[in-house]
C-alpha cells in the first residue's frame, strides 16, 4: 500500500513537471502578455521597453525557464502581475473560498445523491424512479451558469430570499482566521457571521452541486441495481436474512464502491464548475481568480500556479479516492 502511494506520488511529480514546462513555454510564445496588461492604453515604446527589461523578458528563454524552475522549486511562484502580491498569498486567500464552496457542494451531492439514487433503484420503473431519471438527465444537460442565473434571478431579485452574491455581508467578514468564513465565525464565536456566511453559501453550493448530484444519483441507482442482481444478494436471500439487513449489510456497501470512484472524478467537474459558479455569484475563490487572471491580462504567474494547483488537487483527490476504495473494498488491499 505504501509502495502504491509512493509510486503514485512519484508519477504525480513527473506529471506536474511536464505540465509546468508545457505551460511555461506555451505562455512565453504568445503575443501580448504582461507588458501590455500592465501598461494599458498608455503604453509608449519607452515604457514598454523599460518594463520588458524590468521583467527580464529580454533574456533568452532558457534563462527565464531556469529562473522559473528555481523559483518554483523554492515555492516561489513570483508575484501576480495584476495585484503585485506574491502568487502564493493570492492563491492561499482564494483557496479556502473554493474549498468551502466545493465541500458544501459535495456534501449536498453526496447527501442527497446517494439516498435519492437508492430510492430510485428500489422503486425501479415506478413514477418516482422515472421522475428521478428525467430530472437527473436535465441536471446533466443544463448549462450550470444558466441555472445559476435562473436561481439567482428568482431567489435574490424576484424575491429577496437569498443574497445575490459574495461570501458574506459587506463589513461582517473581518475575521480572517482560517479563511473559511463559516468556520471562522464559529471559532471567533461570531455566530451571526457564521450564519450569514452559510446563508450566502446556499445558492452557489446548490448550483455547483447540480451536475455531481445528478451523476451521483444515476451512478448510485445503477450500482444498486447491479448489486441487486449479484449472486451474493441471492445468497443472502437464500439465508433468509431480513430485507433491512440485506440492504444495509449487503447492498449498500457494495453499491457504494463505484459511487466512491465517481465522487473522485467529480472533483474535476467541481473545479471546472467552480469557475462558472464563482463568476455567477461573485465568489472570490480560485474560479474567479482563473477568470480574472485570464481576462485581466493573462496574469502568467497566477495562471501557472493555478494550473499546477488544480492538477495537484485533482490528482491528490483521485489518489485519496483510490485509497478509500482500498479501504472499503478488501479485494484491493492485498497488493
Amino acid at each position: 500500500m505504501v509502495r502504491v502511494i509512493l509510486r503514485r506520488l512519484v508519477q504525480l511529480v513527473v506529471t506536474l513537471i511536464a505540465l509546468m514546462t508545457l505551460v511555461f513555454f506555451w505562455l512565453r510564445s504568445l503575443p501580448g502578455g504582461p507588458v501590455d496588461a500592465l501598461l494599458g492604453e498608455r503604453a509608449t515604446p519607452q515604457t514598454r521597453e523599460l518594463l520588458t527589461r524590468a521583467l527580464g523578458y529580454d533574456q533568452p528563454i532558457w534563462v527565464q525557464y531556469g529562473r522559473f524552475l528555481k523559483n518554483v522549486v523554492t515555492g516561489n511562484f513570483g508575484n501576480s502581475i495584476r495585484t503585485g502580491e506574491p502568487v502564493m498569498d493570492v492563491i492561499s486567500r482564494s483557496f479556502p473560498a473554493t474549498i468551502e464552496l466545493a465541500v458544501a457542494a459535495i456534501i449536498i451531492a453526496i447527501g442527497l445523491g446517494i439516498p435519492l439514487g437508492y430510492v430510485a433503484a428500489r422503486y425501479r420503473g415506478r413514477l418516482l424512479d422515472n421522475a428521478t431519471i428525467i430530472v437527473t438527465l436535465i441536471g446533466i444537460s443544463i448549462p450550470i451558469f444558466f441555472l445559476g442565473y435562473l436561481l439567482k434571478d428568482w431567489l435574490t431579485q424576484d424575491i429577496h430570499f437569498f443574497p445575490p452574491s459574495g461570501r458574506i455581508t459587506t463589513g461582517l467578514g473581518n475575521t480572517d482566521v482560517t479563511g473559511f468564513f463559516v468556520l471562522d465565525g464559529l471559532l471567533t464565536r461570531e455566530f451571526d457571521a457564521s450564519a450569514d456566511a452559510l446563508w450566502h453559501l446556499v445558492l452557489p453550493a446548490f448550483t455547483l452541486a447540480t451536475i455531481p448530484l445528478a451523476i451521483i444519483i444515476r451512478i448510485t441507482r445503477a450500482s444498486v441495481l447491479d448489486v441487486l442482481d449479484e449472486d451474493y444478494i441471492r445468497t443472502a436471500d437464500a439465508k433468509g436474512l431480513r430485507n433491512a439487513t440485506i440492504r444495509k449489510r449487503h447492498v449498500l456497501r457494495n453499491a457504494l464502491l463505484p459511487v466512491v470512484t465517481t465522487i473522485g472524478l467529480q472533483t474535476g467537474a467541481l473545479l471546472a464548475g467552480a469557475v462558472l459558479t464563482e463568476k455567477v455569484y461573485n465568489w472570490g475563490g480560485l474560479g474567479t481568480l482563473i477568470t480574472d487572471s485570464i481576462s485581466g491580462g493573462r496574469d502568467y504567474p497566477v495562471l501557472q500556479a493555478l494550473i499546477l494547483l488544480a492538477a495537484v488537487v485533482f490528482i491528490v483527490v483521485n489518489l485519496l479516492v483510490d485509497l478509500s476504495y482500498a479501504i472499503i473494498d478488501p479485494r484491493v488491499r492485498v497488493q
Binding site: R3, V4, L6, R7, R8, V10, Q11, L12, V14, T15, I140, I215, R218, I219, A222, P258, T262, L265, G268, A269, I315, N318, D322, L323, Y325, A326, D329, R331, V332, V334, Q335
Partner: protein, 368 residues
C-alpha cells in the same frame, strides 16, 4: 524417435511479475510451464491433462510462440521453431494451427464466416484465385459438416457446436500438419461434445492430421488420445499410452485424478476407492521445492522436498513418470499418510488494481 513431428525439450515459459516505483522491475515469476519435454508423432493424438492453472494452455501457446518461451527448444519436422524470426515465423504458422476453447470469443464477432476463413488464406497469399478460394472454403466447410450457406453468416448466429466447427474449419483451411486444440469441447454441452470429438477423429482419419489436445477432462482425453501426458503445476508428471495410464497409473497424482473422475455408472461408482487429495493446487508463482506435488501427496517423503524428480522412462512400455517412489508405490511398499490441507491463496486478483494507472478513466458523463 525419428517419426516425431513435434519435439519439445525442456520448454519453460515464465511470466514476470512486475512492480516498481516509477519503472517496473521484475519481482518474481509465474512458473507457468517449467521444463516440459515431449514428443508428438506424426498422425497421432497427444492428450494433455491437468487441473486448471497447471500450465496446459501456456504450453500450447508457447509451442506456437503465441507467448514467447523463456527457454527450451521446439523442433517441428526438423525445423527449430524458436529460431524462426519475423516473416519466416509468420509463414511457418500455416503448418501448426490452433483450436480454442471458447467458440464464441475466439471468433471475431464482426466477421462473417467467409471472411474469418479467407483471412488465413490471405495471410499466406492463397487468396489470389477466386474460384480456388471458393472451392477451398466449400470443401473445408463440408468437411466440418457445415453447409456452404453458412459463409455469409456471423458467428453469433450459430450454436456452440457449430461455432466450434467454424473454429476448426478456420484451422483446417490452411492445411496444417499439426493442430493444437486447447480444450476444444469443454465449453460445449454434453450432447454436443460427442459431435465435435467425432469430427476431430474423422478429420484425423481423412486428412492424416496430428493433434495435440489439451483438456482437463481425463475421460475425453483418454477417448481421443494415443498418448497422454499428465501435467501438474507447470511440468509433466507422467506420460503413457492411454490404456496403460488407466490400467497402471504410476504417479500419485495420476492415481488421484483417475479416482476422482466420476463415471456415469452407479455400480462402478459404488465400488470405487477414492484417493482424495487434500488442499488445492499451489500457486505457480511460488511452487513448492523438490517435487511440485509433494504438498498434496499421501506418499510424500523427505526426499521429495529436497530433490525434484525427473520425468524418467519407467519401463519398456515407454511409460514415463516423474516420481522418486513410483516403484515403491506400485509395489505397495509405501504407506499412505494423512496430508494436512495447506491454504493456497489464489493469485489472480479480480478486483481493480490500485496504482496500475495514474488515473484510470474519466468520463464527464456517468455510466448509466
Amino acid at each position: 524417435m525419428s517419426d516425431a513431428l513435434l519435439e519439445i525439450d525442456d520448454l519453460k515459459v515464465h511470466f514476470p511479475i512486475k512492480s516498481g516505483l516509477l519503472f517496473d522491475r521484475t519481482v518474481g515469476h509465474v512458473y507457468a510451464v517449467d521444463g516440459v519435454s515431449l514428443k508428438v508423432r506424426r498422425g497421432e493424438t497427444y492428450g494433455l491433462v491437468g487441473e486448471s492453472g497447471c500450465g496446459k494452455t501456456t504450453l500450447g501457446r508457447g509451442l506456437l510462440r503465441l507467448v514467447e518461451p523463456t527457454s527450451g527448444t521446439i523442433t517441428f519436422d526438423g525445423t527449430d521453431v524458436r529460431a524462426l524470426q519475423g516473416e519466416k515465423m509468420r509463414l511457418f504458422r500455416r503448418r501448426i494451427q490452433m483450436v480454442f476453447q471458447d467458440p464464441m470469443s475466439s471468433l471475431d464477432p464482426r466477421q462473417s464466416v467467409e471472411s474469418l476463413l479467407v483471412e488465413g488464406l490471405k495471410a499466406h497469399g492463397l487468396h489470389k484465385d477466386k474460384a480456388d478460394v471458393q472451392r477451398r472454403l466449400r470443401s473445408t466447410l463440408d468437411s466440418v459438416g457445415l453447409p456452404a450457406s453458412a459463409l455469409n453468416n456471423y458467428p453469433h448466429e450459430f450454436s456452440g457446436g457449430q461455432r466450434q466447427r467454424i473454429g476448426i474449419a478456420r484451422a483446417l483451411v490452411l492445411g496444417p500438419e499439426l493442430i493444437v486444440a486447447d480444450e476444444p469441447v469443454s465449453a460445449l454441452d454434453v450432447s454436443i461434445q460427442a459431435q465435435v470429438i467425432n469430427l476431430l477423429g474423422d478429420l484425423q482419419d481423412s486428412l492424416g492430421l496430428t493433434y495435440l489436445v489439451i483438456a482437463h477432462d481425463l475421460a475425453v482425453v483418454r477417448h481421443i488420445s494415443d498418448t497422454i501426458g499428465v501435467m501438474y503445476l507447470g511440468s509433466l508428471v507422467e506420460e503413457a499410452d492411454g490404456d496403460q495410464l488407466y490400467e497402471r497409473p504410476l504417479h500419485p497424482y495420476t492415481k488421484a485424478l483417475l479416482s476422482a473422475v466420476p463415471i456415469p455408472d452407479p455400480q462402478v461408482e459404488d465400488r470405487r476407492e477414492r484417493i482424495l487429495l487434500a488442499g488445492d493446487l499451489p500457486s505457480p508463482a511460488a511452487p513448492p521445492s523438490g517435487c511440485r506435488f509433494r504438498t498434496r501427496c499421501p506418499w510424500s517423503q523427505q526426499r521429495c522436498a529436497e530433490e525434484r524428480p525427473e520425468l524418467r522412462v519407467f519401463d519398456d512400455t515407454g511409460q514415463r513418470v516423474a516420481c522418486h517412489f513410483a516403484e515403491e508405490i506400485l509395489r505397495g511398499e509405501l504407506e499412505m499418510h494423512d496430508v494436512r490441507a495447506e491454504l493456497v491463496r489464489p493469485d489472480s486478483d479480480t478486483a481493480p488494481a490500485v496504482g496500475a494507472e495514474l488515473i484510470q478513466t474519466r468520463t464527464d458523463l456517468p455510466a448509466p
